[in-house]
Amino acid sequence: MTKTFAAALRAGVLMTLVGATSATAAECIAPANPGGGWDFTCRQIGRILQEIGLESNLVQVTNMAGAGGGVAYTHVVSERDADPELIVAASSATTTRLAQNAFAGMTADQVRWVGTIAGDPGVIVVGKDSPFQTLSDLIEAVKADPSAVSFAGGSAVGGFDHLKVLMLMDRAGFEDARAIKYIGLDGGADAITQTVGGFTQAMTGDISEIQGFIRSGDVRALAVLSDERVSGFEDIPTAKEQGVDLVAMNWRGLYAPKGISDEEFARWTDALQKVADSDQWKQVMTENGLSPYTLIGADFQTFVNDNIAEIQEISREIGIIQ
């Protein structure tokens, strides 16, 4: 019993130590459990902020999972609205859910959007034995018979992976969004297994989560949804090159509480800009298959507004919102 107790005590002490160091430091809320993209954003940005000397203490990462970021969002809006030491990780999923009113009536203007400093380009892949050789093969097949082509993706219906397919077909001139078949799985790798197994004809996801499968040759990428070809994957053409004007980046960024002063907000935008320019961040991006995608402050605010407007339009079309 004493041994057990000692171990429990030791674990407890370790945990309090971690808690204690952060009492005065900046805090980054990752609105999900450890391991997701948001957790990654918080931990990497937090680490670099300390390494380049902008934060003297370790940035504390708080995981606040729930409602796809909704729990953290309402927490920030209702309880931490004037906390200058708080930043929150965000991504396309955040704006998607805000656009679809999935945060219990909260809107995007209830926080300040600090910026995005990297993007994970969307990608459309098919199995290695697929008859579709180019993006237009795939698009034509959907146009000819939407019930014959199904897509798998790593997010639920209405989520970002689904929207990529819908936006792609929309830009390619296919009107009937509801006819497009899509199944949502738990993450990109899971969706890949369904495509490699031949259960779906195509898959859409972020390039970083499926890069291994592209390099191993299990799947063939038809198009990457970025402005330019992605370094490391130069042989994958962009959708733009193939005549479909679509850029779908799963951006990685931050928001801060609405109630902080302009100076406090400027401190975060400056800090984020410095992280974006740092060598450490460039290394993180290469190692994780991310592409540079920097929009800070006012530019980012405009981007968020446009993004939300577009998602709302498509979501109305497929009936996710009224």
Binding site: A7, R10, A11, G35, R43, A65, A104, I183, F199
Partner: protein, 507 residues
């Protein structure tokens, strides 16, 4: 002999005094975390990720530490299942069914030793399986589409009949209750919230940990208060603690079968350790010669699910490493750890980063041996928990449960929900309704529904798609047999086990 040289490489990296020390600490902390209700392997590992960062551990050391915690927690979950009828984590749920009755008979020590050895057996064979066959086995995941997964879950529900009680109607009622609870939250196929009443905390559905801690731990406390602890294992006179060689020999077959089933469940990304231990238990119950004693303290009923859940824990590393698909909550956290260390699991991991893979495998083997050495002698320490006065022990357990649940999401909502589940568990106990099917319904309900609906989307609504592959037909056949066979067998044997189980229901 590639494997041997690779393994040697792995051991050369993982076998330093420093990593051994980390493995020891990891195993120890993991066992404790596993044993504490509400703190399971996934939040245990999640809690330790930030610690490994602040300690500045390199990739290999961090992996060694966290995999030891992972395996440690899988071992530890059984301790509170056996001693207190409260599963320390979700896969250990099946161990309560026979482990706790054993403890009430004063055989807590035997149950702990048998389950410890079974854990070792399962985990060791699974690690060897991972070592030899991982790249090959990863292909299995490609054979399982929505229809096959749906059939697999049906198999689990069809064999539910005899869990905890032999009244199939009650088990079915409990499973339906669980499936109903699983419907709460965001619907994957339409993106619409269901039964959330605008409450954000319900958007992600109900966490099965909240349900499991409520239904088992909190309701156990209610029951204890009501009965003044008359029929609990606390304070039961313990026999001398010896290694039960005879039982170990007898349960050898149960361990082997449990390992096989658990490992298979583990390598399927949609199944995981809970399904592994459940199917291992149910399979053992139907083949064992000692089946009449299941639910009343059969050593096989402890050995099979423990071998199964540890084998599944090892098996779950196969899709995690070779595909990047986590098969369970815990492997999801380990995957996260790998990603933060800039290691992206996937089809190329074994060829591109052999040092990482093989040192991980070496770490698993080390942790496993260490856990066996640590667990068997420590049984004496563990059983002494039962001699702690109940007025100290139960409030303590309840407190830990509350802390564990609070650490999940940091909201008081889950704690209230947990108490509500406690009340539900207490009512179920009064009515003789087993609670295991409720948990199973919550655990598998969503995945089962999603897969059915994915299948319907893919086939444009053609239900024959569900029976369109060899694998799914095989699973459906097993499911139908699993459902029908017990009814016929009972008639043929003319020895209805109902009276016997009713006495268990009452106590």
């Amino acid at each position: 002999m590639d494997i041997l040289s690779n393994l040697a490489l792995g051991f050369s990296i993982a076998l330093s005094p420093w990593t051994l020390m980390l493995a020891f600490v990891g195993c120890f902390v993991g066992t404790i975390i596993g044993a504490l209700p509400g703190l399971g392997p996934s939040n245990g590992v999640a809690l330790l990720i930030p610690i490994s960062f602040s300690m500045g551990l390199d990739a290999i050391s961090a992996l060694v530490l966290l995999t030891s915690v992972y395996y440690g927690a899988m071992y530890g979950g059984r301790i509170s299942s056996i001693l207190l009828n409260i599963p320390g984590d979700e896969p250990a749920m099946m161990t309560t069914l026979d482990g706790y009755p054993m403890a009430k008979q004063g055989r807590a020590g035997d149950a702990l030793v048998i389950s410890g050895v079974a854990s070792f057996y399962g985990a060791l064979l699974a690690t060897i399986g991972l070592m030899l066959l991982a790249p090959l086995l990863s292909r299995v995941a490609f054979e399982f589409g929505p229809a096959e997964y749906f059939a697999l879950y049906m198999l689990a529900f069809c064999t539910l009949g005899g869990v905890g009680s032999n009244n199939q109607a009650k088990a079915a009622l409990a499973a339906a209750l669980g499936l109903g609870i699983a419907m709460i939250g965001l619907d994957q196929t339409t993106g619409m919230p269901r039964f959330t009443f605008g409450e954000l905390h319900l958007m992600d559905g109900i966490d099965f940990l909240v349900a499991i801690v409520g239904l088992f731990a909190v309701s156990e406390v209610f029951h204890f208060i009501e009965s003044h602890g008359k029929d609990s294992a606390i304070g039961v006179k313990l026999g001398r603690i010896t290694i039960p060689w005879r039982d170990l020999g007898r349960t050898h077959g149960a361990m082997a079968r449990g390992t096989g089933i658990g490992f298979l469940a583990g390598i399927l990304p949609g199944a995981g350790a809970s399904l592994g231990s459940f199917l291992a238990y149910m399979a053992e119950k139907s083949v064992s010669r000692n089946r009449a004693n299941f639910g009343k303290g059969a050593p096989e009923g402890v050995a099979a699910p423990e071998a199964g859940n540890n084998a599944a824990a090892g098996g779950a590393l196969v899709p995690m490493l070779t595909l990047g698909v986590p098969g369970s909550g815990t492997t999801a956290v380990l995957l996260a750890l790998l990603l933060t260390l800039n290691i992206t699991p996937g089809p190329l991991l074994f060829t591109e980063k052999p040092d990482v893979v093989w040192s991980l495998i070496a770490a698993l083997l080390i942790a496993n041996v260490m856990l066996l050495i640590m667990n068997v002698p420590m049984v004496k320490v563990f059983v002494r928990i039962l001699s702690v006065p109940s007025w100290v022990l139960l409030p303590g357990v309840t407190m830990v449960a509350f802390v564990g649940i609070y650490s999940l999401t940091g909201s008081s909502f889950d704690m209230l929900l947990m108490v509500a589940f406690g009340v539900l568990g207490w009512i179920c106990r009064k009515l003789g309704i087993p609670t295991v099917p409720i948990i199973l319904g919550i655990l598998l309900g969503n995945a089962m529904e999603d897969n059915l609906r994915r299948a319907m989307v893919l086939s444009n609504g053609d239900w024959t798609y569900l029976f369109s592959s060899g694998i799914s037909i095989g699973l459906w056949t097993a499911a139908v047999l699993g459902f029908v066979a017990p009814m016929f067998l009972r008639r043929f044997l003319k020895k209805p086990p109902i009276p016997a189980t009713e006495s268990y229901d009452r106590d």
